[in-house]
């Protein structure tokens, strides 16, 4: 019986509750947070900026890679020319040598 009464009292303990009130400074604090929010850079803008920087970096990276590759290819071509010319020179030297009886 005592237990039943206690349960009933506990169940009704929130009756006649005086409502909680927001602090007096509520609006001022809210205004402060709103002004902080407007100063902050919006997230979509930040994402766009990050993407642009990434694309620029990638394009610079690939451009240097392409330049390096083409430079290396040119170097190979130059080397081939050199060796071809060199072999022509050798032939002419052999010819001279033969003519001179060596």
């Amino acid at each position: 019986m005592e237990k039943e009464r206690e349960i009933e009292k506990t169940l009704n303990s929130l009756d006649n509750l005086i409502k909680a009130k927001a602090p007096v400074s509520f609006y001022d604090e809210l205004e402060k947070r709103m002004s902080e929010r407007t100063i902050m850079i919006p997230m979509p803008l930040l994402k766009i900026a990050a993407t642009v920087i990434l694309i620029l970096n990638l394009s610079i990276f690939f451009r240097t890679q392409i330049v390096e590759l083409s430079f290396n290819n040119n170097a190979v071509e130059l080397n081939d020319d050199y060796f071809n010319n060199y072999s022509i020179d050798l032939e002419s030297y052999t010819e001279i040598a033969e003519n001179e009886g060596y």
Partner: protein, 188 residues
């Protein structure tokens, strides 16, 4: 001068009128604060989330359709923000494996600091509140809105987008579950 309706203030807030927003905040700040308190228990959390509610209102006022009442719309945001915060907190607690919670913090979490409880009811209300937390989410929302904020069943039905009979059933089941929980509590 004719006082503007809540809906009118909300529409004007969406159009960027700061004076209307200020008036809207002064009309609803206590109701939002008390509702959030009903879910969050702690003053610091309540202040932060009640402000989040108004920041959301300020941002989304343009999307308000006058089909529902402004009060219903605002209460819905307050409930959702409070529950979002509780979910985030419980996730944080679960993921914070290495975090230690101080004894003081534990004490604060278990106590219900609602300033409106009469002294002689404080202990009982704290017990009841710990049991309310274990209720299924919908029962908890309906019960808290009715008991803490004193909202009618009809308005709760609008806030929760349910029928009136569904709300009646939710509150009935909440009371039955609480009674069972309290029987176990007092037995032990």
């Amino acid at each position: 001068m004719v006082q503007k309706s809540d809906e009118q203030l909300l529409i004007e807030t969406g159009e960027g009128l700061n004076e209307s927003f200020r008036e809207l905040v002064s009309r609803f700040q206590d109701r939002v604060y008390n509702t959030c308190f009903g879910f969050l228990k702690r003053q610091e959390d309540t202040e932060e989330i009640a402000q989040d509610v108004f920041l959301h209102i300020h941002e989304k006022a343009k999307t308000f359709r006058s089909e529902s009442k402004a009060g219903t719309w605002i209460y819905r945001i307050a409930v959702n923000k409070s529950l979002e915060f509780l979910r985030w907190k419980s996730r944080e607690k679960r993921s914070g494996f290495f975090n230690t919670i101080s004894i003081e913090d534990q004490k604060n979490r278990s106590n219900w600091e609602h300033p409106g409880i009469q002294m002689e009811n404080r202990e009982r209300a704290t017990i009841l509140y710990s049991k309310i937390e274990s209720l299924p989410e919908k029962q908890r929302i309906a019960f808290v809105l009715h008991k803490i904020e004193g909202i009618s069943y009809k308005e709760i039905a609008e806030i929760m987008e349910l029928s009136l009979s569904a709300v009646e059933s939710l509150i009935f089941r909440a009371k039955t579950n609480l009674r069972k929980e309290l029987e176990n509590y007092y037995k032990s």
